[in-house]
Symmetry: C3
Subunit: 672 residues, 3 copies
């Protein structure tokens, strides 16, 4: 979905404020160029302090103020944090997880399939939407927030799962066979009497339950979307705030939600991206999660609904970084930057998750830098919004493989998202922009180069599509652990990697976790001096493929580490081990060359992103993610520097100050 303008703003909670300062806040926001607030998603107990007693005072105050000050508003349904009184309506209102029964306190631990929860949730949503009908400043709605199944292993959910399995398999014999339940005497004799999934040692059973859990989110969104659509206008969008696998910050594909499938009822994708700043700001999380943001609605622009202003302790940005971050989002195709949140909280667990304003609620250095951004966007935003991006390379992501790798964490603690980021980050540092495609995507052919990290669990249909992609001229990189098992984590019982063997021109049946790093040698490719692998190695034999590198090992020197195969009109590279970053880089360079994708002369910490704006102009961002000045040589045709109204020509040198960004507009769309 395209938007009329760039949105710049913050989450706002009048109901959390220590005193009435709503007009002060709105004035401060306007002055800073903010044009949107996001409200209401956490505060059911304020809207309905007692069962059946509705009080929208704070909501009205925020909407009245938004009208007085000309501020756009995104309203979230308040269903992801339930009031205490509601939690008491049923013993199983809160989820039973693998760790035991949840008790009331934190958000996001109710059973989203519970009929009592759903009944009350529907009522508060309808009451709220009725109440705000006709409000002009409301531009869109957010369903719930960072929704997940919350580790629900309760009886109701497990009963639903039994029905799901019955639907899928028909007979218990079929289930016993597919899941290998003969093992350790795990056979079942009836769908009405299945073992508690929490105890299982059968990965097929356990992983299928996680897949089932993800479908609960799909259903929840569809249900809420249907309710909201009864009230919203066509102009008002419908979104969700999707988040990511968390490693003290946003890191990888979200394991608990199939975002591609869950997003179907939405009109625009929304994400929250949190990342470290200060010495640790790299732009990687913004770029990677942004690529997922684009993929959720298959290439459309997305909203950044939450990102850090001051954020967690340790994330306080250096001067310039807040602005760099904002433009990093835009360069990835975001149409908004919205901070979580406007002010800092004076109570409770997120007291130190600081907003734009500190606890003193005054203009501070962060506010001042936000004002720079906001006022630049007022001036330049129309040329930056709705950036249309299409990368030449894409990385294929898959939740079933992520789950499968979790069930079999044998590769020295390498998780699926580690393999994903290993590939993605290497391209990022080379300045090769990379899209994300979900395994369900039908647009693989749009890319010159497709990277497939650890596709552990794959139905044959997907393996065939990958083969066909190469056969038809695509360039494919497949890593270790791909094609190993089917969609139920049943290992394919022919040679590995099953149907991909032919297109890759290789096979293997043995692999190991080396207890010390193993060197890698190549006759074809120039490798870094200390080329090595760790964590995982497969003993790969070439059939039709050419070995690009072998193991430099006394006993396993005959096996290949990396291979390349011509197959049909395309090329397929297999990486059978977890190479050190520098070693991987050399092989990616080779495959980029094979794919006809050119590499810029400069690398990280200078990062380039590009796309086409509404006017059909090419927009090129240059970012400096370092504390030092950087100078690069312009390798495009003539362009115009956005902030300075100066012209630039091929061969000119460009200096970027520490943590600075520059933007260039070129009418010519092709890079060298």
């Amino acid at each position: 979905m395209k938007t009329e303008q760039l949105f710049f703003g913050a989450a706002y909670y009048d109901e959390y404020m220590p005193y009435d300062r709503i007009d002060t806040d709105m004035e401060m926001m306007k002055k800073a160029g903010f044009n949107v607030i996001r409200i209401a998603e956490s505060t059911w107990s304020t809207w309905e302090p007692e069962e059946g007693l509705f009080d929208f005072t704070h909501l009205d105050r925020m909407l009245d103020a938004s009208e007085r000050h000309g501020m756009n508003v995104i309203i979230g349904t308040p269903t992801y944090a339930i009031p205490y009184w509601l939690s008491q309506k049923a013993d199983d209102m809160l989820v039973l997880t693998k760790q035991g029964q949840e008790i009331y306190g934190r958000r996001q631990n109710m059973d989203i399939t519970h009929p009592v929860y759903l009944k009350y949730a529907e009522r508060i949503i309808r009451k709220m939407l009725e109440h705000i009908q006709g409000r002009k400043t409301v531009i869109g709605f957010q369903i719930d927030n960072e929704t997940k199944p919350y580790g629900n292993y309760g009886k109701r959910a497990q009963k639903m799962f039994a029905e799901y399995l019955k639907e899928k398999f028909g007979t218990v014999d079929a289930l016993n066979k597919e899941f290998g339940f003969n093992y350790w005497s795990n056979r079942v004799d009836s769908f009405d009497n299945l073992p508690d999934v929490r105890g299982t040692i059968n990965a097929s059973y356990g992983a299928e339950y996680e897949k089932f859990q993800r479908t609960l989110v799909d259903k929840f969104f569809a249900w809420q979307a249907d309710i909201i659509k009864e009230y919203k206008t066509d102009a008002q969008f419908l979104t969700q705030n999707f988040d990511f696998d968390w490693r003290n910050h946003s890191y990888g594909l979200q394991p608990e939600v199939d975002q591609f499938s869950a997003a179907k009822p939405l009109t625009i994708a929304g994400v929250d991206i949190y990342h470290p700043s200060a010495d640790d700001l790299t732009g990687k999380e913004i770029a990677f999660c942004g690529a997922i943001g684009r993929a959720i609605k298959e290439g459309e622009n997305y909203l950044v609904l939450e990102t850090d202003a001051q954020g967690n302790p340790g994330w306080l940005p250096f001067p310039g970084q807040l602005r760099l971050q904002a433009y990093s989002h835009l360069g990835s195709g975001a149409n908004s930057v919205m901070y979580w949140h406007w002010h800092s909280l004076h109570n409770a667990i997120e007291t130190y998750w600081k907003g734009v304003l500190s606890h003193d609620l005054k203009e501070n250095s962060i506010y001042k830098e936000a004002s720079v951004i906001g006022n630049e966007w007022k001036r330049y935003g129309s040329r930056l919004k709705n950036l249309k991006k299409h990368a030449e390379a894409a990385i294929l992501l898959d939740n079933n493989s992520l789950t499968g790798m979790n069930w079999f964490p044998h590769a020295g603690n390498l998780a699926y998202n580690d393999v994903v980021r290993w590939l993605y980050d290497c391209l990022y540092e080379k300045n090769i922009e990379c899209d994300v495609v979900f395994a369900e995507s039908e647009h693989l052919e749009d890319y010159k180069l497709l990277l497939v990290p650890a596709l552990y669990s794959a139905p044959e249909s997907l393996l065939k599509r990958l083969s066909a992609y190469v056969e038809n001229g695509g360039n494919l990189i497949v890593t270790f652990k791909s094609g190993f098992s089917n969609e139920y984590l049943t290992v394919y019982h022919d040679e590995q990697p099953h149907l991909l063997s032919k297109c890759l021109g290789i096979h293997y049946d043995e692999f190991t976790v080396p207890s010390r790093p193993v060197s890698v040698k190549s006759g074809n490719i120039t490798l870094p001096e200390n080329a090595y692998l760790s964590n995982w190695m497969e003993l790969v034999t070439c059939d039709t493929a050419k070995a690009l590198a072998n193991y430099d090992h006394k006993f396993w020197g005959e096996y290949s580490a990396v291979t390349l195969n011509k197959f049909g009109k395309g090329n397929a590279m297999y990486i059978g081990c977890y190479l050190s970053k520098e070693t991987l880089s050399a092989f990616l360079d080779e495959m980029l060359r094979q794919s006809g994708i050119s590499l810029p002369d400069y690398q990280y910490p200078v990062i380039r992103k590009e796309g086409i704006n509404d006017a059909g102009e090419q927009v090129i961002y240059l970012y400096n993610y370092s504390s030092d000045e950087q100078t690069i040589i312009w390798d495009y045709d003539n362009a115009e520097a956005l902030f300075h109204d100066t012209k630039i020509s091929r061969g000119d040198s460009i200096m970027l100050k520490p943590w600075d960004v520059q933007i260039f507009i070129s009418v010519c769309q092709s890079s060298i």
Copy 2:
């Protein structure tokens, strides 16, 4: 309370002995100069082996023997370890903690508010006190032992908490507002229906519960004291064995008890101080916990009721250390050293927590060194007891701030007690004696210098008292994270550090956790070569204060790390970051100079302590906490060496053997 003599002895358990050796033990004790045993606090099941069946055989044996051998006795009530039969009287006799329901086995896990427990506890106390009425050797009583609330989150306790909150706040609206319960939909609608505290993410709610738990100990002591007072004579004292925050040994302020408040019904403070020995003996725990011991009854002498003889594996003292330790306690104002315990146990969990005697119950090297101590005290004790101490510096300790820091552990895992010990230990190594004052103390003005570590949670009244202290001529050091929130952990919503801003002459609103050490530079103070901070830094701006040091940082160089402000007649230093030990030392030197407190020429490992004895003489202890000889120059007037009957004059050099102590008596009370 002053005592007639120094007490030297051990906990004694006739009921644990493998065979009858009570007269052998008493004779060995007497020979070693022991004059007290502490008995009975753990053995309810021996006194009442079945419900209602009382058997004081062992108690009588010990009292009879004490009379035969002229040994003083301290009797503990046996209530901190309940018999199994009592644990079976109610399902909730043992506490429900955050980890779940306790089961029988260890001590200290009953619900000290349980009416059935209290009924039986009262009966055994009365039976025991009736039984020993008139026993002449009993000099005092100990209530229970190391009492705490034991993590009690049971229904009864939570109901009491609801009443406590109702009393305090009157209406749920007031509670909702103060605790910020609007956040994440946590509003409550009735005091009769509050969420289980175990689940809360609201620090105000959770910390207030911990405060409430501490009041349970106050009540428990008052209740037992009232019973005991019905039986005890005026000459018999009443004490409790207070312990400390535990980090494999005594470390810091006890988080679960407000010792100042709990001690009100007592006539004398008692403590147990456990510390490593051998290579790790520093005297720091003895000095720091001793300072708390003095503070509990506001400057009076205290009893060391337990300390290590052989102690835990790894604590076995080197020759000389047991004696050094004993005098370390005396130099801090203790009037007793009592080992836990006389013999070593042959069964159960503390088998390796060894006493004076090893498992063979024979004279060993520890016993022999104890005999040296005991016999010295017989000779010199009258000049060493009731040491009156008053330091020029004091450190302010506060349980609410400790709890607050636990709820917000953001500063790279720095806990409250780490900040306390960071300051205290730095002074200790400089040979600046330092008192402890509790936040409730009314004697701040007695000190030239007051140190306030991480006073995270403080009512405005306390902040005003600190300001007034400076205004009236006091010298104040305040560290980062002070004055940040009120008594309910609600962050003050003006500039930080709230009311202290004026007296400190600074303000800040931003802070961070640097991912790598940050250098510190000063134009005023000579800093060590590698002056740096880690863990936490606040971006401090001087208003009226002078910057003593700034961050040596490319982007944050404008902000101050340490500041000094003249305010009224006094000086106030602010330390806005966690400086390395050597860097902190330089700033403390500066503030000691400002405060007119002089520094001796020698430092740790030579430690000096001093005080005034009953005769008004000044007693000066010199300790050598190292395996090497140390020589220092005497910087006092003429004095007499206690152990050698020699005289010493200013400028004489004094040699201390490894792990040795020397004591000097001077009639002139003033140091240079």
Copy 3:
């Protein structure tokens, strides 16, 4: 028990196969020289998919095929993994452990004392045995698999324990006294009302429960053996698959089973030995666990029922290692090598515990190397089977001491098995073969040298036997922590090490855990340059013993680290501290010299094992556990090289290729 031939084979599960390939598998096996499969121990739910519905299709298929292909079969009773329907028959069918109630899923978590379990188990055993009556290829039966008490702390088991205690102690007073229940008020007043063992802090109570748990396994085996004996022929053996303390691989004495006692109803011992390969293959686990295998039936040969083919990720053997491993088992006295398992699994938790065949079920490098072994055994097996071994040295192992050390883990996390392996591995690297004797063994006198590691818990009778062993001319090495407590973990209350003091000629009462390594010095023995200890040191005083080494310590230099005593006709060495490996080695050399045991000129990585075959010939194995060639000088009389039909004479040099083994047969039985 002697066997007719060497057995070479694998566990086989027709019921786990993805498609029918039973004849293919048998043909592949036969071609590789396999002569046995082990079946049926895990698949109750296949034999009885619903309660009372029996289906032995897969069993019949395997037996039919075994007859067609002339393959021997070992049948396991399927009782260690119960069907889901059986788990639902009673609420307490699965064990309650210290971690809580088990839920269905994994194997080995049922209550093996549960009458309902036992009823159904007996029925399936009888049904299966009836079904296969008369099958000619069945050579033996295995009871259950890796049986243990599974941490059973359920009510039934605890009630049985109360009866066990009553039987043992008669009165609660006796129990209270022996266990020291006076401590912390733990006295009990009735056997009908004992505290839940899970909560206890009394090591005597807790450890006795673990001893009791081990007796449950004895009873379980006796019960199953009685049933099986009703069906089996005299020619069919009866075994169990014993496993070991697990540290990511087989490591030490199994804590949960008294294997010596449990094995009484068996006719032959069986073990599973899992070990790392590749860079980490040392042969130590094979040798150590093999020594236990021999000890279980007091010197008889044993079966290796499971060992790794490809095994866990990271264990993939280098070329040559699979063969080296197989001969390592034979050299230790095994009469079989059976892989777990034939194929690799396509589902569930052991998907990556790979068998001989990989998931593709084709001939691979592992299969090919197995074929070399199998075909060599067809040719040479008759001269290698039933190897009779008797070492000159033995190490005494004891489960009660292991449990005791777990309850008192004070020595810097040194566990009992660490002390065991510290001694054993040191001898192994010197090429001194070493038997295991259990504390109950009556054959101590068979050995020149007896090593006693950390015999923490020992009845006086055992200590007397050790003294008598020395007095009668034996050579004894005793380490720290031996003889410290009796069979109930009650510490002996005279001088340490109690009754051993006299034979060792030493005593001590103090010990410590040094916070840094402590040097060791010797006037008698040449020590390595950096001779030191860590973790634990006892302050030993020599009575009649001679100090071989003292602590090189400023304050504890007077105490001995290692002592040697002449006692009667023998010698007794005491090692009072945990010496570094090289330091220990020097003292073991001294004691080997004293014992008249000669050391070969070559050490690890070249390892020698020897024994006498059925024909009375001496068989000598030489192994190279390294990636480099090794050359040694032959130090025996004339011998014949088994694989090459060449002769070899004293003084000849022998070259071993990387990871190679050579076998020599000599008619002369005495080594130099």
